[in-house]
Symmetry: C2
Subunit: 214 residues, 2 copies
């Protein structure tokens, strides 16, 4: 993606599949919130619900991702319905929600820490998308918002985990939770690569890029 | 309570036990929110998190209930820790959170509809508390807030349930969910009555009113 090597169809597949992830983030965060008996934590975490679902006046991240989908040329309804998303995308996202629902709360919070590393990546990605995929320029609001939201969220979560992971076992569990989240993101990307890059074998029922575009 | 027949110790037991319920309401609502794939629903339901946890400037319902606890003469830390609450209170509240976590989303929403009947009750209760328990007057902010919040919440939830309970089975299930919630509230009150009114046998470990007050 960052080298400009992807077709429009491949970008569509990415935006479409990633929408399933994005649309589950506020639900994931509500689960994390629901599991805390600490009102200060709940109030801080509520910011994420607003960031992703919007506040009625300003659109949230989910809506902005739909704009990104539309910028690739796909209709928003296809993303909303999840038509043609990879089963592997669904499994990985559902595993994430399941993880934060069932693991100790500390691990649920720690699993969000992948955002510690997203600031540089987002800035780079916006540059490269503008350079190589100028037809997507109208869909980049999501990233603009995350440039400030993600570091705020990650800083809060990191401080919270550092404070509450007191024993070596808790620290190891927090570390493992962050790795588990990396596994989830990685699995989503591998499935996309397999289906749409190499060997480019989408499974039955999955989105097929228009071959003219490829 | 509405006839002025309760001692200060009995009012303390009520406020203390009910705090366990109140403090779980924003967590219960976050569970309900987390289970919806409808962004409009999630945004509307988020109001409840703000109403109960506060917004950083204005205190929420949980904090206001602590003021009520303090107005009865108990220290807030006792409520926050749940020291001396009845096991039956804990079981009932936990059953409510479990209910909204595991039942179909429609039933989770329908279980909140007990608030349809709370407006008149709250208005009456405020009158009677002011009349018979004037020493509690500084703790009634919770009820003032709920006078407007509860009907708004109930109206939204009722309209939502009416719209989404399409089959007879769904309608029966919504009705059963409301009854299940009534059972939960009823069980909490019966346990309080048994422990602190008649026969007034608090179980081991439970709060004991000061006998001078009784």
């Amino acid at each position: 993606m960052h080298e400009g090597a992807l077709s429009r169809g491949q970008m569509q597949a990415w935006a479409l599949n990633r929408y399933y992830y994005q649309s589950h983030i506020p639900r994931k965060d509500a689960v994390v919130l629901s599991r805390s008996d600490d009102q200060g934590f709940r109030m801080a975490w509520r910011k994420r619900l607003i960031d992703h679902d919007g506040d009625g006046n300003r659109p949230g991240g989910v809506e902005k991702w739909l704009k990104l989908v539309e910028a690739t040329g796909l209709p928003r309804i296809q993303a909303v319905r999840g038509d043609g998303i990879l089963p592997a995308t669904r499994y990985a996202v559902d595993a994430y929600v399941q993880f934060v629902s069932t693991r100790p709360h500390l691990q649920a919070v720690a699993s969000s820490l992948t955002e510690l590393f997203s600031h540089k990546l987002i800035a780079l990605r916006m540059d490269r998308l503008r350079e190589f995929y100028p037809w997507m320029a109208s869909g980049l609001d999501y990233f603009t918002g995350r440039l400030t939201q993600a570091p705020e969220d990650a800083d809060f979560a990191l401080a919270w985990v550092v404070k509450h992971a007191r024993t070596r076992e808790e620290q190891d569990a927090a570390h493992a939770a962050l790795r588990a989240k990396c596994d989830i993101l990685w699995a989503m990307l591998d499935a996309l690569f397999f289906a749409y890059v190499n060997p480019a074998w989408p499974p039955p029922g999955a989105f097929h890029p228009n071959h003219v575009d490829l």
